[in-house]
């Protein structure tokens, strides 16, 4: 009988002890991190393209944070973003939910064929970035630095004068490629002419 009592007593006291310790720790070491949605939002490319089915990156981030949507919907972000979200949320990686033809891994930018533009301002209203400049009856143009290549201006254009083209690589944006790896001889042969 005393054994039973002592067992009960010790278990209960242990429960109280650990419980209070945990409770204390939870209060004392509480992390005041950003809410999950903010962290997810930070991982998204902010193209605001809506290809995920949400009206912008923030709503998608909220949907992901609340477990209302999968993490594989962000097409511009690609696999890197899925990996980053999987890491953040402790989920498994799932492949991108897109047709292969939809996926482009180079940064894109909108280009208005200015001769054809009729100045209807429809694309200006569609642009989530305010990256299109122009006024009614005036030719419009894209501010390349602000454009995220989201595609949203293409559809509203009544004369189809907007193209989404890959961003041009310049001396400043160019980066060294990764070497080919084990078993490969580095370098490439370049033809030259002999003028001597």
């Amino acid at each position: 009988m005393t054994d039973d009592l002592s067992a009960v007593f010790s278990l209960v006291s242990m429960a109280v002890l650990f419980g209070s310790a945990l409770g204390y720790a939870a209060v004392k070491f509480a992390t005041d991190d950003d809410p999950i949605a903010d962290q997810v939002d930070a991982l998204l490319p902010q193209t605001q393209c809506g290809q995920c089915g949400h009206p912008g990156c923030r709503p998608y981030a909220e949907a992901v944070a609340n477990d209302e949507d999968e993490i594989n919907k962000c097409i511009p972000g690609g696999e890197d973003t899925i990996h980053a979200m999987a890491d953040l949320l402790g989920k498994d990686f799932i492949p991108l939910d897109a047709e292969e033809s939809d996926v482009v891994d180079v940064p894109m930018v909108a280009y208005i064929r200015e001769d054809e533009c009729i100045g209807c301002t429809k694309c200006i209203q569609a642009c989530p970035m305010d990256a299109i400049l122009g006024a009614a009856k005036q030719m419009h143009t894209v501010i390349v630095d602000e454009c995220t290549g989201c595609d949203l201006c293409v559809e509203p254009c009544p004369v189809d004068c907007i193209d989404i083209i890959p961003e041009k690589v310049t001396h400043t944006t160019w980066a060294w490629p990764q070497p080919d790896g084990v078993g490969i001889t580095p370098g490439q042969l370049i033809p030259v002419r002999n003028i001597a």
């Binding site: 998204l44 989530p128 995220t148 160019w174 980066a175 060294w176 084990v182 003028i195 001597a196």
Partner: protein, 732 residues
């Protein structure tokens, strides 16, 4: 001279191969058939061409102007005619062409106006620095950083050492060596100008002990001044700026910092020479000494080359047999870049052209697996662990690579040199650095995009809100009108009241129309979600998922929702259609109202009119009294009537005003109070967030930290209050 020399960690001893190009004097290279001058010759923004095709230019004339702080003007290397301004191949690892000004020399080599500064000490320092900038002088050893910026030290910075970098540790290159041997006095003259500019405590020349002739020349030239020649042991890469500074002073330039932060300025030999030419002779930088060497070259040696000379022209003059060359390297064998097109021009940083044969520099061997031998860490002059950086760069673990200080890699190539597995480590590091840079710029762009998007959202919301407020104001006006009509009816005979029937407001039409658009987009998005779900369902069916039922349920739900929104939209559309045609027919009707629609204004007007009439009548009566007119009685009577009328209208107005106030209060009470509160709460939250962000961006010790913190706390409190109020309102 017993100056202490600090030893850098690591380092290697590759075969020197310098003898070959030291056998001859510096030769003046021929003026080629055309000169190709890139507008971008160094770090910074490219220069802006200021000549046009067809222009005749003289030697030394500015043909492109500096564009920004880290940018320099470009000068015509010889006299001739500009024949093109176009994209041409230039030396860049990306193999992307750059804008070049193409000059057809007239073979006269006529100098334009030169303005030597005879007595620079009598000028302001800034003017001399400007002269150096205008001469287009950039660091002639490596990256080509504009020298004027290096020399333009921040006021208050004390420069302890001015160092002339004559180490030239790369194998094969002898351009500086030969220049020192032949023109040591001119270099020292340039160095003295810099000495005067930065006023250092001591001036040192760092030179490797494998250049006895150059050391002797320097010793002779510095015999009568306070410049000290410091001989350092031969070891690659002791010519790296940071490495040389450490060797001579024991000071380390902190990571990401500048040498001037530790009181040191380091300049290249060729730069000192160019500064001398610019100040004492008024000649801008239009030529440089370039070593042409390698076993495929017959006349190895140093050439004084006009900038813009195509590489193939120079090689042809030096008798290079291009069929024997295995590669073409601009720069030395350790850090030089292979040239992808032999027509690229010589630029300010081209200190060497190397055309080795296959026997001399064989084709690189196949890359093998890393055996973690650690040789790379033994030779790294920056104290890094190249092997770890290699693993991280290879597997794209950029955060770890950054943590292991990838940014401090100087790309000297010592690690690749010793790697037994022939791993192109430097390329892995360049790749890693590029990825980090790309990642950072993407993050910045995304943040920027988010900001813009949020701003746009806020703007749209504001517009919406303003519209809403206008609508409300109009509705209130209508209500007031009603009230005033009543009041007027009470106060005045019906004929006096000028109330007009309210039109079936165009507002309502707009309202229904915008409602319809909203519903349309809701319908569209619902349909999309439904379709998506359906797609997912088919996929799930195909894959035999066990959650088919759940999927099906979701699809049904979404479908129902889509249909509902569609129905709503259709309703809205029809209602919009039915309200809009009525508006044109309604619009002519309000023509009845002669003055204003606002009953309050009308009342006011009426009251004012009546008052005026009474006052007029009173005046007339008084006049009549004074003149003792006979119609005095009649006038008195009229005045009394008018006064009564005026008083009545005044009272009516007062009443109307009170009523209006009441109506407004009632309206406010009936309106949903939560909306405003919600808005307030949201605004307060945003303010708090902004304050927190500002707070976080500051260091703890910053002066305004406390103030910001207080602001943040206040904003937070406001937000909390607003939230509480909102909650209370919602509960109520």
């Amino acid at each position: 001279m017993s100056r202490q020399i600090w030893d850098i960690p690591g380092g290697i001893h590759p075969a020197q191969n310098k003898i070959q190009s030291l056998q001859t004097e510096i030769t003046r290279a021929d003026i080629p058939a055309e000169l190709v001058i890139p507008t971008q010759q160094h770090i910074g923004a490219p220069a802006k061409p200021c000549v046009e095709v067809g222009d005749k230019v003289l030697k030394g004339q500015v043909i492109a102007e500096g564009n920004g702080f880290v940018s320099l003007p470009v000068h015509a290397p010889t006299s001739g005619e500009v024949i093109a301004i176009e994209s041409r191949p230039i030396q860049h690892p990306s193999q992307i062409d750059g804008v070049c000004i193409v000059l057809k020399p007239d073979s006269n080599d006529t100098w334009g106006a030169r303005h030597p500064i005879d007595n620079y000490q009598s000028l302001e320092r800034n003017d001399v620095i400007d002269a150096i900038r205008n001469a287009g002088i950039a660091g002639m050893g490596g990256a080509g950083f504009p020298s004027a910026i290096k020399l333009g030290i921040k006021p208050g910075t004390k420069i302890e050492q001015l160092i002339l970098n004559s180490v030239e540790c790369e194998p094969y290159i002898t351009a500086d060596d030969k220049l020192i041997q032949e023109r040591a006095d001119e270099i020292i003259a340039g160095l003295e100008i810099m000495q005067w500019l930065v006023n250092p405590q001591e001036t040192l020349i760092g030179i490797e002990d494998n250049k006895p002739d150059a050391i002797a020349a320097f010793k002779k030239a510095t015999a009568n001044n306070n410049i000290e020649v410091v001989v350092v042991p031969t070891k690659y890469p002791s010519g790296g700026e940071k490495q040389l500074i450490y060797m001579l002073t024991g000071k380390e330039v902190s990571s990401g910092g500048l040498p001037s932060d530790v009181g040191v300025i380091c300049q290249n030999t060729g730069t000192a020479y160019a500064i001398n030419r610019a100040i004492h002779h008024g000649e801008p930088l239009v030529s440089r000494i370039t070593t042409v060497t390698g076993d495929a070259v017959k006349h190895k040696g140093n050439y004084e080359v006009l900038l813009g000379t195509p590489v193939d022209a120079l090689l042809a003059q030096a008798g290079a047999d291009m069929s024997a060359a295995s590669r073409l390297i601009m720069g030395g064998p350790m850090m030089g870049f292979s040239i992808h097109d032999a027509s690229v021009p010589v630029v300010k940083v081209t200190n060497c052209l190397l055309a080795p044969t296959t026997e001399e520099i064989p084709v690189p061997a196949q890359e093998q697996a890393c055996i973690r031998c650690g040789s790379c860490a033994q030779v790294c002059p920056a104290g890094l662990l190249p092997q770890q950086l290699y693993w991280f760069s290879k597997s794209n673990e950029l955060e770890k690579a950054e943590h292991f200080n990838l940014a401090d890699c100087i790309e000297c190539g010592a690690c690749s040199f010793v790697c037994p597995s022939n791993i192109p480590l430097v390329q892995y590091f360049r790749f890693g650095k590029g990825q980090i840079r790309k990642h950072k710029s993407e993050t910045i762009k995304a943040d920027h995009a988010r900001e813009r998007f949020e701003f746009r959202q806020a703007r749209l919301e504001k517009e919406e809100r303003e519209k809403e407020q206008k609508r409300k104001a109009r509705a209130e006006a209508a209500a007031k009108k009603q009230a005033a009509k009543k009041a007027a009816a009470l106060a005045n005979p019906p004929s006096d009241a000028s109330g007009s029937p309210t039109t079936p407001g165009t507002d309502d039409v707009a309202d229904t129309a915008s409602n319809a658009t909203k519903l349309k987009s809701a319908w569209a998005s619902a349909t999309k979600r439904w379709k998506d779900a359906e797609k997912a369902l088919t996929i799930a069916e195909k894959n035999g998922s066990d959650q088919l039922e759940a999927f099906q349920k979701k699809v049904d739900q979404l479908k129902a929702k889509a249909e509902k929104t569609k129905a709503l939209y259709e309703d809205a559309k029809t209602s919009a259609a039915s309200t809009s045609p009525s508006s044109p027919s309604a619009s002519p009707s309000p023509a009845v109202a002669p003055v204003s629609n606002d009953p309050m204004v009308q009342l006011k007007q009426a009251s004012a009119d009546n008052f005026k009439a009474w006052k007029d009548a009173q005046k007339k009566t008084q006049e009549a009294e004074a003149n003792s007119a006979d119609n005095l009685e009649a006038l008195r009577e009229e005045e009394a009537t008018l006064k009564a009328k005026s008083d009545a209208s005044k009272a009516a107005m007062k009443e109307a005003r009170a009523k209006e106030k009441e109506a407004m209060q009632a309206k406010k009470a009936t309106e949903d109070p939560t909306k405003q509160l919600k808005l307030d709460a949201a605004i307060a939250r945003t303010k708090a967030k902004k304050a927190l962000k500002a707070l976080n961006s500051l260091d703890d010790d910053h002066a305004s930290h406390a103030a910001l913190k207080a602001a943040y706390e206040k904003a937070l409190a406001t937000a909390d209050n607003a939230d509480a109020a909102l909650k209370a309102a919602e509960e109520a």
